[in-house]
Amino acid sequence: MHILRYLAKRHGYFFAAASVLTATAAFLPGRDHFARAQWALLYLLVVGLVAGLAGVRPALGAAGLAFLLWNFFFLPPHNTFAVHDSKDWLSLFVFLVVAVAMGTQTGRLREREAEALAREREMAMLNQFSARLVSDSSISDIAQLLMGEVAQITGARSAALLLADEEGNLQEHRSCADDAGELESSVLCIAQWAQAHSKGVGLPPITRRSDTDAAGWPISVDHVQAGASTHREDLFIPLQTIDRLEGILYVGQRSSGGPYRVSDVRPLVAVANQTAAFLERKRLQAASVQADALREADRLKSTLISSVSHELKTPIASITATIGNLAEQDVEWDKDKAAHELASVQEDLDRLNSSINALLDLARLESAAWEPRREWYDLADVVWAAHSRIPQKQRSRIQVSLPEALPMVFVDVTQMARALENLLANALIYGPPDSAVLLGASVEEGAFRVWVEDEGPGIRPEERERIFEKFYRGRSSSQSTPGTGLGLAVAREVIRFHGGRIWVEDVGPRGARFVISVPTEGTPGPL
C-alpha cells in the first residue's frame, strides 16, 4: 500500500496507466462471463482509485485510457476500435463523461485533503516554534531552532540568519551549510540589498486567490533586480516588523533543485515573521533593561549625594563648632577641658578620613579600575595590615587571636586589608563604647577564614543579606551611628573578586560576627 501511495504521488501518470493496464489484463480472461456494460462499471472503479491516490490529472488520463481499452477489448467487435451497435456509442459517451467527472471530483477531494494535511503539519510546526519563541530563549537558541526548521521544511543545502545591527549592517548570526564554509560574497551582497530595500528576493509570486496568507507575504523581486549577475534559486526572506527590518533569513537552493513553490515558501515566511517578532521583542527588552540600569544608576547617584553630603558635612560642622568654641577669647580653657574638646575633633577627623576612603574604594572597585593583583602573602601580614589602619586610639579595643602560625595566601593584599579594615571599623562603631572587638583567623581544608566579632546589638535575620548592599544601613543604627553604608559593600565586592564568601552570624549572648571565607589556592610554587 505504501509503495502504491508513493508511486501515485511521485509518478501519477505512470501509476494511472499501470493501474488501467493491470485491470485490463485481469478483466480479459472473464470477458465472456459478464455483459459489456458491467466491465464499464469495473473500469470506473479503477479510475476512482487512481483519482483518490494520484489526483485529478492522472485520473483524467486513466479515464481516457479506460475509455479506449474498454472500447478495444470489450465492445464487439473485439480487438478493434470499431463499434457495431449504435447503442454502444451512447454507452461509450456516457462512460467517458462519468469517468471524467468522477476522476475530477475524487481527484480534487484528494488534493484538498493533501493540502489540508500539509497545512496541519505546518500549523503544528509553527505552534511549536512560537511556543519556543515565547519561552525565554536566547537569540542563538532561536537561531539554531530556526535553522533546524528551515532544513526540515526545505531540505536546503545551506541557510543563514543574518541580523541587522544598529546601523542596518547585516551580521551573520548563524548558518548551517553542508560545506560548513562561509557564505558566498554574492549571498551577502543580495542580502544587504534586501535589507536596504526592505524586500524579499527570489520568493515566488502569489497567484492563487485561495491563498489566505497573502497579507504576511513580503514584497519580493527576482535575483537580477536585486543585483545578482545570474539567475538563482535561493531565497532571501526579510524579517519584517512594523517599524524595522530585523534582518534576513537566507535559504539556499533546495536539495532536489528547481525553484521554490509557494507551498514551500509559505511556512518559511510564517517562521520568518515569527522570528522577526521575537527579535523585536528581544531588542525592546534590551533597551528597557538599559533604561532600568540608567534609572538605578541615577537613584544610586542621588543616594550617594545625600548620604555622602551628610557623612562629610556632619564631622566638618562638628569640627568647626569645636574649634570655633576653643578659639573664643571669652572663656578660659583649662588644659583638661581643651584636651577633651580636641579629642572629639580627632574622632571627627578619623570619621571623615574613613568616609573618604570608602568612597574612593567604591569608585575604584566599580569602575573596575581596581583590578585585584593577587600574590602570595602571609595571612598574618594581611590581618595586621588591616589592624594597623585602624586609628591608634581605637586599636586598643581590638583583641587579636591568631593561631601560632598562619599560611601564605594568594590575595590582593591592599583590597583584602581594606575589606577587613571595614569590618573592624564597623564593629568598633556598632559595639558599645570601650567594648572589645575580636579579630580572629583560621585555616581549614581548602579555605581560610577571618572573622570580626562585636558586642553590638547584632543583625536581624531579615537584614543579614541587605546590609551588604550599597547605602543600606542596619535599621537599629540608621540615624544614630555614623557611616556611609559603603564599608560592607566594598568588603563584599573585594571578597567576591577573590571567589570567597562573606556573611554575618549571631554570637551569644549579644553581638554579631562577620566572617569571610576565601578558598586557598595551594601553596606558593617552587622558588
Binding site: 578620613n353 595586621w384 602560625a405 591592599t414
Partner: protein, 236 residues
C-alpha cells in the same frame, strides 16, 4: 622632647601650606629647630645653606617630585629622610625608599607616630658607628661575623638566605627596607622584582625566630613596601 644640648635642625619640604604650618608648630613645640621649603628646588637651596639633621619630604609635589629631590639629595646628603605620602603602599613611596629615603608616613598621620619616627631616625644617625658584630633584640642574639642566631641562648638553624635577610634587616634596625633593597642585597640585582619569594622566606624565617609567628615582634611588615626590623618591643 628632652631638651638636647644642640637642637636638631629639621627641614620640612611640602608644597601644601597647611602641612608645613602644622609640622612647624608640632616640631617647634618639641624643641626642634625647623626650616620650611615649599618646593624641591627650595629644599636643595635650603639644605645647601644649612645642612639639616633630618629632612621630612613630601612625595607628591609639582615640578620636582619627592623622589627626584631624594635622588638629588642623596648625592651629598647623608642625614635621615622621612617621606610623606597620601596613599599607603604607594609605589612612589617604594621608589623613594629605594632611592635612599629612610622611612615613610602616610597622611593623615598622628602626631605621636611622627615624633616617634623622628626620634628613632635621629637616634640611629647619632649612633652611626660601625654596626656592632653582635645585635641584640629582645631575647634574640644575632652574631653577624659567626653567622649564628640564638633565641634565649638556644641556637637556631637558619638557611643561608634566611640569615642574610635577618642580618641585613637587623643591621638596619628601625629602618624600612623595601623588598627590592632586600632582594638585591640577598639574591642579587636580577631578582629585584620577586617580592613574592622574599615574603615566603620571611614567613619561614618568622616561624624560626618569632615567639608567635602570626604576631611578629621582630620582623614587621610594611604592607606594599617592605620590612622593618624592630630593635625594641613596639610601643603600641
Amino acid at each position: 622632647m628632652s631638651a638636647p644640648e644642640k637642637r636638631p635642625h629639621v627641614l620640612v619640604v611640602d608644597d601644601e601650606e597647611q602641612i608645613r604650618r602644622a609640622l612647624r608648630s608640632i616640631l617647634t613645640a618639641r624643641g626642634y629647630d625647623v626650616a620650611l621649603a615649599a618646593s624641591g628646588a627650595e629644599a636643595i637651596e635650603c639644605s645647601l645653606n644649612r645642612l639639616p639633621d633630618l629632612m621630612i619630604l613630601d612625595v607628591a609635589m609639582p615640578e620636582m617630585t619627592g623622589i627626584e629631590v631624594c635622588r638629588e639629595l642623596r648625592n651629598w646628603f647623608e642625614g635621615p629622610i622621612l617621606m610623606l605620602s597620601v596613599i599607603s603602599g604607594d609605589t612612589d613611596i617604594v621608589a623613594a625608599l629605594d632611592t635612599g629615603a629612610d622611612d615613610y608616613l602616610t597622611k593623615p598621620f598622628s602626631t605621636s607616630e611622627l615624633l616617634a619616627r623622628i626620634r628613632a631616625l635621629l637616634r640611629r644617625t647619632a649612633s652611626r658607628v660601625t654596626p656592632p658584630p653582635t645585635i641584640h633584640a629582645g631575647d634574640l642574639e644575632i652574631d653577624i661575623a659567626r653567622r649564628t642566631v640564638k633565641r634565649a641562648g638556644q641556637e637556631i638553624e637558619l638557611t643561608r638566605m634566611e640569615f642574610d635577610i635577618l642580618s641585613y634587616l637587623a643591621q638596619n634596625a628601625d629602618r624600612v627596607l623595601t623588598s627590592r633593597m632586600i632582594l638585591e642585597k640577598v639574591w642579587g640585582p636580577e631578582y629585584a622584582e620577586d617580592a613574592q619569594t622574599l615574603r615566603v622566606h620571611v614567613s619561614h624565617l618568622r616561624k624560626k625566630i618569632e615567639p608567635h609567628p602570626s604576631s611578629p615582634r621582630h620582623i614587621l611588615t610594611e604592607t606594599g613596601v617592605g620590612f622593618r626590623f624592630a630593635s625594641s618591643e613596639p610601643s603600641d
